[in-house]
Assembly symmetry: C2
Homo-oligomer: 798 residues x 2
C-alpha cells in the first residue's frame, strides 16, 4: 500500500498542480490582504489608498514558504488519511497559517464572525496585527496550532513531545533558518535519539532556508550546503533537499520529496511495528527546503532587490497609502494570484481552492491533536494514601519524601502505559524517583551496551541533559492531551524559565477561547533545592522559579511547598488531576523530618495553610503574641525548632505556628482563586499581631503576596537572600538569617507582649550563633560528620 | 618557527613523558585526596578509617581527562610561550582544576593557608566540598577560571567571548559529553562563524567523550563516531580524534594531536595576519577525545564495572570508612600514582612535577586573561551630553531615545576599536541603534554576498539570533577585561535569565575575593518593551527580567528605567564606567515624549528619583494630598497625563509627581547601597500620604522594594498584570489598569483630602474608559490610524 501510495503522492497530475497552486495562491493572497487591506478585499474594483490599512504591520518573508508546505501536506493527508499537525517555527508566519485555517473553513467554525464571505474576509484582514485583533505570529488563537510563533527555538521540542506515545501522528515541523540559530533549537534536533518508531509517531522537520532573518543573512543559509547536510546527517537524519523558485517545477519536486520522506517514515514505522526492525536508531528523513524569502512577492522595489533578501522580512512595500507607484505595485502583486479564480461570488474560497482541503478533522487546522484537551483522558491515579509515611509524633521520624512520590509515579506509569511520562535532566535517581525504573526504562534510541542499566529503546522515562528539551517535550506532550511531570534542580529551572513563562501565556490565553479544551497541567517538581546543595554551592542555590511563577496570572499559576512526604503526595495527586495550570512543587529530596499523618496532610493541603497547634503555645483563647509562619521544608524545620525553643525557654509567650503549603492562599481572593478569605486570613495571622515568616524563596515574594492584607507591614520575612556556598542546610539558614536562632530573636523583637527572660533568650541565641560561627571556621580542622551536624541537631540543639 | 615548533610539540621524549605523566599523576592524586582524605595526605603511613572524610562528596569521573589535557596544554605553553586559558565545561571537574592551580603554585599564592607543604595539602583536601570550603565544581574561587562549572552549557560561549579582540589568546574549552546535550552548548559551536582570525584569538574546543553523564550514557558517546564527526564538520570544524586509555601511548597520540591543532590555528592566524587569507571561514581545528570515564580509577568495585561507566561519575568507592576492602582498594588506587615521587619531603610538589609548569603568568591558573580586571582599561567614552535631545518644555517633543544612544555607541566603537562590542539578536537596527553600522559592520565569517548590508568578516557588531550566545559572549568578553552591551527584547531577555542569574552569582562571589580584580559590568539594554509590542502581542509582553535582577544582591544588581533620551544617555554613561555590576536598563525604542533637559536629566539620574514639580500641583508648602509616582517610560507618560487631568479638573488637589529612574533607590539603604535615606524617602513620598505608583514591571516588585519603608501599605501599585495582546500602548495601559484614567481614580480614591468635583471626575474617567472600550471593539470597523490613537492622545485626551 505505502509504496504505491508513495509513488502516487510523489507524482502530480496537471489537476493536482492546479489545485495545489490555487490553494497556495489563495493563501498568499490572504496573507498579503491581512498585511495591507482594510477594504476592497476581493479587488473587485481598482485598489485605492483608502483600501490600505493606516498602519502596515506583519511579516511576508516566511509566509509563502509556510503556505507552500502546508498545501502539499494537505494533499498528502487527502491521499493517505495521515493524521498530521503543522507547527510553524518561523516567528512570524502568522498570516499564512491563519489563512490556511480560513481556507480550510476551520477559522470560520471557531470564529463565526470571520465568515466565509466578503464580510468575513474583511474581518480577517482587519483583525490582523490590529488592536482588538490577533497577533502577527501563530498564536493560541490560531486553530490547528500548539506552538506560538513568538519566542523562537521550540518548534522541534513541541513536535517531538506531540508524537511521543502517539503512534499515528505525523507532526510537520517547519524550522526557520533564523530560529535555527537559537540554542534551544540546535539542542532539539536530537529528539530522534529518544524516539521509538513502534510506540511513537513521527516528526518531519522541514528546515526552511530562505536566507535571512530580520536584518541580515543566517548562518545556515550562508554555509556550504554540504556543511548543512553534514550537520543534519550528524544529528542522524536522512537529508532530502529541494531548492528553487520555478513553477510548476517546485510543486513537482517538493511533492516528490515529501512523498519520499513520508514513504521512509512509513517504512520505518512498518518495519518496527511488524517486528522486522533491528532496533538501531532509524535515519529519519528531514527536508531542507531552499526558497527565496518573500517568494512570489515583488522582486524589486524602487530599484532595490527585495525578494530573496531580509528586506522582504516584514512589509516589502511601504508607504503604499501615499505612494501611487507602490500602490500600483501592490495591486499588480495581489492580482498576480488571480483572486477571481480563488474566491466565488460571495467571497468564499472557490471550489478549486477547497478541493485541496482534507475532510473534517483531518484538516490540519481542525486536527484534535492540536486541541489536545479534546483527546485528554483522566489519568488512572493510584490512591496516594497508599504511599503514606507513618507519622506517630510530628518531627521525629525522617524520610526521603520524594521517594514516596517516586513509588506513586511508578504505579502511575504502570497504570497509564501510554499517557504519562516523567521528564528529567538525568536526575531521576538523584531525585529519589528511581522507583519508576522498576516499570520503565529510560528512553534511548542510540546504542545501548551490555552493562547499561534501565535504558532501552522501549523506555518511556525521558532523561536528556537539557532542561529545554525536557520542558518543551512535556509541553508538546500535554498540549496533545497527555500527562506528565518535569523534575529538575531548583536553581537550574531558571534555564527553562522562559519556557515556563511562554507556556503560561499560552494557557492563560487559551482559557479565554471557548473552543480550546483544557489540557493537562504542566507539573514542575523542584527537588534539589536552594537550601540543600551541600557540595554544589552557590551556583546551585537559587529559588528563582517561584518568583517567575508568581508573576503569572491567578487563573493558571500554582505554587506548592509541601513540608513533608504526606503533603507532597496529596499535592501531587491534586496537580496530576488538574488541567491547564502551571503547578510548581518545591520539596527537598534528602531525608527530612515528617510532620503530618496522611489525614492531617490531606486536610492541611486542602486548606493550603493552617495552624500547627502542636508546634506552638497558642491555646486559641486569645490572639497570640507572635505568629511564626513558614513555607518550605527546611525553613519549616527551623520555624518549628524556634517555636520549641520559645516553648521551652519562654513558655509564657503565646506563639502560633502557621504552615503554608499553597503559597497562593496568601493572596487576596480577588487576585487569585486560591486566595483565602479575609476572615480566614485573620484566623491564621490575626490582623494586628506581628508575623515572623520563614520562607523558602526570596523574602520579597511574601511581601508582594500579602500586600493588601490587614496591616501587611507587620510581616517580617526571612528567606533566601543570595547568601550561599558549599555548606550544610543549617549553615545555609544561618547565612541567610532564617535559622531557628534568628527566628527566636525576631519573635522576641516583634512580640506584642514580652515575658521575663526574653532578653536572656536573645543573648543565648546570639551565643549559639557565635558558637556556630566558630564551628564553621574551625571545622576544617576536625572534620565532624557533616550529616550529623546538619540533621541531627534540630531537636538536640533546642 | 611554527612548523618546527609543531613538530617539536608533537613529539615526546622519554623525559617529556615522564614529566607529563608525573604531573598528571600528581593532579589525579590530589583530586582523589580532595574527595576522600582528611588526614595522612601523603600516605606516609598505611591508610586508616580515621583518614577518611566523614562524608564523601565530589566527582571523580571527568577529572582525569581534564587534568590529562591540562598537563599537555601546559607543555605546549612552556614550549611555545602561547598565552592560554583553560575552561572546563564538565560540571564537576572542580578538584582536577583546583589541583592544577595548586601544582602550579598559584593556589598557594592567592590562598596562603593552602601552602605548598603537608599542612597546605591537608587544608586543600579538607576544604573541598565541605562547609566553609569550596564547591565541587570549578568556581569563582578557582584561580585561572572565568567559567563556573555549575549550570551547564556555556563553556563555548565564554570561550568565544574571551578571544574576541584578543588576538594572542588561545582558549582551551573542554566540552563534556553531558554538557554537549544542552541547548545552549549545541547552539554555541557556531562561534567560529563569527570569528576573525586577524583580530580575534582562537578557541580550541576539546569534546571529551567519556561516555556517561550522572546516571547513564550520553547521546554523543553512543553515536557512531562518523556521525559525531559529521556533526562537527557540519559546524565547520576540522575534527581531530584521539581515543584510548593505553599509556604512554595516549600521551604520544594526544601530544601529536594537540600540536597539530595548535599548528593549524597558528597557520590560520599567520595567513590572516600576513595577508594571504582568502577571507573564507577557516576550518578551525577541534579535538574529539575519547577516554574512559574515571580513567585510572578502580576498574571494578564489588565485582561491578566502574571505570568507563556512569558509576565513576562521583565517588567510585563508597563506604570506605567502614568497609576494609574498599579502604584497601582506595589505598592501592592512591598508591598507584606513586605519591612518593610526586611530593618532596615537606609535602610540596616535587621538582619532577613542577618541571612541567609554565613560568609566571603563563601558568593557566595565573594567566591574567582569566582575572580580566587586571587587564581592564577604562573606555574612552565621548561626552554623553553631546547627544542630548533639546527639551524646551517637558512632554512636548518626541524622540526615539535609543537612537541617541546608538549615536553614542557609534562613537564609542570608533574610540575603542578593540575593547567595546554590542551584542544583539539581530535587532540592532530594530532597536534604533543602527548608527553603529556607520563605523562597524556586523561580524560574519560565513559567505557574504553582493547586496548584503553592513556585514563582513571585519565587522565587530555581534548579531546572532541567540540570546544565549549574545549573553555568554558578552560575559566572556567582560570577564577578560573588555566592555560591552547586550541589547534585546524585554520579554525574550528571559531566554537568558539563567545566565544573568549565574553571572550575577559569579560577580557577587568575586567581590569577596581580594585577588579577583573588578571587571566591566554586564550591561543589558531592554528596548522592545512589554508596553509597546503593537503587533507582536502577548508572547512579547513580559517585564520578567526586572524581577530576576531584583533578587540579586545589592552589591551587584542595578535596575534603571530612564523615562527619556537624556536620562538614558546619563544612565548609559554611568553603566559603561561601572565595574562588576549587572546593569539592567529598560526603555522603549519608539518615538516617545521627552521630559528633561540634559542638565535636569543628569541631576535626576544622579539622585535616582525626584519630584517633577512642573507636573504636579504640589507647591511644597505642605504635604501633598496624594503622590503619583512612576518608573518606566510609558507609565510615566500616563502618570504625567493623570497629573495634568487632575490639575485641570481638580486644581485644589495637591498632587505630587515623583519619577524613579534608579529602582534601587526605593530600597532601604541597609539592603542596597543606592537605597535612599529615610529622610530623603520622606521628602519624596512623605510618610503618611498615599502613593499611587505606576510601574513598568509587575506591581509586586514595588511592594517588595518599599517593604520596611514608613507605612509601606500606603503604596498602591499599578503595573503589568499579564494582560496583553496585539494592541496599542494606550490600550495596554487600560488593560493593565494603569492608564491615566485609572491613575486619576486611584488618586481620588486614596487622596488625604478631596476637593469638590472629585466624584464628577471619577464619573468622567469611567466614561472615558467606556468610550475607549467601545473604540477598541468598534475600531475593526473603521480602522483609524493606530499610531495617532497611540501617541497623539497623551495631551489631547487630557
Amino acid at each position: 500500500m505505502t509504496t504505491v501510495a508513495q509513488a502516487q503522492v510523489g507524482q502530480l497530475s496537471d489537476e493536482d498542480v492546479a489545485q495545489l497552486d490555487a490553494w497556495w495562491r489563495a493563501d498568499n493572497y490572504l496573507t498579503i490582504g491581512q498585511i495591507y487591506l482594510q477594504d476592497n478585499p476581493l479587488l473587485r474594483r481598482p485598489l485605492e489608498p483608502g483600501d490600505i490599512k493606516p498602519r502596515l504591520l506583519g511579516h511576508w518573508g516566511t509566509s509563502p514558504g509556510l503556505s507552500f508546505v502546508y498545501a502539499h501536506v494537505s494533499r498528502l493527508i487527502r491521499m493517505t488519511g495521515q493524521q498530521a499537525i503543522y507547527l510553524a517555527g518561523p516567528g512570524h508566519g502568522g498570516p499564512a497559517l491563519v489563512a490556511a485555517g480560513y481556507l480550510e473553513g476551520t477559522y470560520s467554525e471557531v470564529y463565526p464572525a470571520v465568515s466565509q464571505d466578503e464580510a468575513g474576509l474583511l474581518r480577517l484582514f482587519r483583525q490582523f496585527s490590529s488592536p482588538g485583533g490577533i497577533p502577527s505570529h501563530v498564536s493560541v488563537t490560531t486553530p490547528g496550532s500548539i506552538h506560538e510563533g513568538g519566542e523562537l527555538g521550540y518548534v522541534l521540542v513541541h513536535a517531538f513531545g506531540s508524537v511521543m506515545d502517539n503512534p499515528d501522528l505525523l507532526t510537520i515541523a517547519v524550522v526557520g533558518d533564523g530560529e535555527a540559530e537559537t540554542g534551544p533549537l540546535e539542542g532539539s534536533w536530537k529528539g530522534i535519539s529518544f524516539l521509538n518508531p513502534t510506540r511513537d509517531g513521527a516528526v518531519l522537520p522541514i528546515l526552511h532556508l530562505n536566507g535571512a532573518k530580520i536584518a541580515g543573512p543566517t548562518v545556515l543559509a550562508r554555509k556550504d550546503p554540504a556543511e548543512v547536510r553534514s550537520l543534519l546527517e550528524g544529528h542522524g537524519y536522512e537529508v532530502l533537499e529541494v531548492e528553487g523558485d520555478d513553477l510548476p517545477g517546485m510543486h513537482h519536486r517538493f511533492a516528490a520529496t515529501l512523498a519520499e520522506a513520508w514513504g521512509r517514515i512509513r517504512a520505518i514505522q512498518r518495519s518496527a511495528r511488524e517486528g522486522t526492525w533491528d532496533g538501531t536508531r532509524p535515519r529519519w528523513p528531514l527536508i531542507v527546503m531552499r526558497t527565496p524569502k518573500g517568494w512570489t512577492g515583488p522582486d524589486e522595489v524602487d530599484g532595490i532587490r527585495v525578494t530573496g533578501t531580509w528586506r522582504s522580512h516584514q512589509v516589502p512595500l511601504s508607504g503604499v497609502k501615499d505612494n501611487p507607484e507602490h500602490l500600483a505595485l501592490l495591486e499588480r502583486w495581489l492580482r498576480s494570484y488571480r483572486p477571481e479564480e480563488l474566491f466565488d461570488e460571495s467571497g468564499a474560497p472557490s471550489e478549486l481552492v477547497r478541493a485541496l482541503n482534507p475532510a473534517g478533522d483531518l484538516r490540519m487546522s481542525a486536527n484534535p491533536h492540536a486541541n489536545g484537551g479534546l483527546l485528554t483522558k483522566d489519568l488512572d491515579i493510584p490512591d496516594f494514601r497508599g504511599y503514606a509515611v507513618e507519622v506517630a509524633t510530628p518531627g521525629v521520624g525522617r524520610a526521603e519524601s520524594t521517594r514516596r512520590l517516586g513509588e506513586l509515579l511508578r504505579d502511575l506509569y504502570a497504570a497509564n502505559p501510554d499517557s504519562f511520562r516523567l521528564f528529567c535532566p538525568d536526575e531521576t535517581n538523584s531525585n529519589r524517583l528511581g522507583a519508576v525504573f522498576e516499570v520503565s526504562d529510560r528512553a534511548f534510541a542510540e546504542r545501548v551496551l551490555p552493562g547499561d542499566v534501565a535504558i532501552s529503546r522501549d523506555g518511556r522515562v525521558m532523561e536528556v541533559l537539557s532542561e529545554h528539551n525536557c520542558h518543551g517535550w512535556l509541553e508538546g506532550y500535554t498540549l496533545t492531551g497527555r500527562h506528565g511531570m518535569f523534575a529538575t534542580y531548583e536553581a537550574f529551572a531558571m534555564v527553562s524559565a522562559s519556557q515556563t513563562v511562554q507556556h503560561g501565556k499560552w494557557l492563560q490565553e487559551a482559557k479565554r477561547l471557548a473552543w480550546r479544551a483544557k489540557v493537562p497541567s504542566l507539573n514542575v517538581l523542584l527537588t534539589s533545592t536552594a537550601w540543600r546543595n551541600d557540595h554544589n554551592g552557590f551556583s546551585h542555590q537559587g529559588p528563582g522559579l517561584i518568583q517567575v511563577v508568581l508573576t503569572q496570572r491567578g487563573d493558571i499559576a500554582r505554587v506548592y511547598l509541601p513540608p513533608d512526604a504526606n503533603c507532597l503526595l496529596s499535592v501531587a495527586d491534586h496537580c496530576l488531576r488538574s488541567r491547564s495550570y502551571i503547578n510548581l512543587i518545591v520539596i527537598d529530596k534528602q531525608p527530612q523530618l515528617q510532620w503530618l499523618t496522611m489525614d492531617e496532610a490531606v486536610e492541611h493541603c486542602a486548606r493550603g495553610a493552617g495552624i500547627w497547634d502542636w508546634a506552638g503555645t497558642d491555646d486559641g483563647s486569645a490572639d497570640p503574641d507572635i505568629v511564626l509562619a513558614c513555607a518550605g521544608d527546611v525553613v519549616t524545620m527551623e520555624a518549628v525548632a524556634a517555636a520549641r525553643l520559645l516553648r521551652e525557654r519562654l513558655p509564657q509567650l503565646r506563639v502560633r505556628v502557621v504552615n503554608v503549603v499553597d503559597l497562593m492562599t496568601l493572596v487576596r481572593p480577588k487576585d487569585h482563586p486560591h486566595g483565602m478569605s479575609e476572615t480566614r486570613f485573620k484566623e491564621l495571622f490575626t490582623d494586628t499581631v506581628d508575623v515572623v515568616f520563614a520562607f523558602h524563596g526570596y523574602p520579597g515574594a511574601i511581601h508582594q503576596l500579602v500586600h493588601g492584607r490587614p496591616d501587611a507591614d507587620r510581616f517580617r520575612v526571612r528567606g533566601f537572600i543570595e547568601e550561599g556556598t558549599t555548606t550544610t542546610p543549617f549553615d545555609m539558614t544561618v547565612r541567610n538569617r532564617v535559622s531557628r536562632y534568628h527566628l527566636v530573636m525576631d519573635a522576641i523583637n516583634n512580640a506584642k507582649r514580652l515575658p521575663r527572660g526574653a532578653a536572656d533568650l536573645k543573648v543565648w541565641c546570639e551565643a549559639k550563633l557565635a558558637e556556630h560561627e566558630t564551628y564553621v571556621v574551625e571545622h576544617l580542622e576536625d572534620m565532624p560528620d557533616v550529616r550529623d551536624w546538619t540533621l541531627g541537631d534540630w531537636a538536640e540543639r533546642g
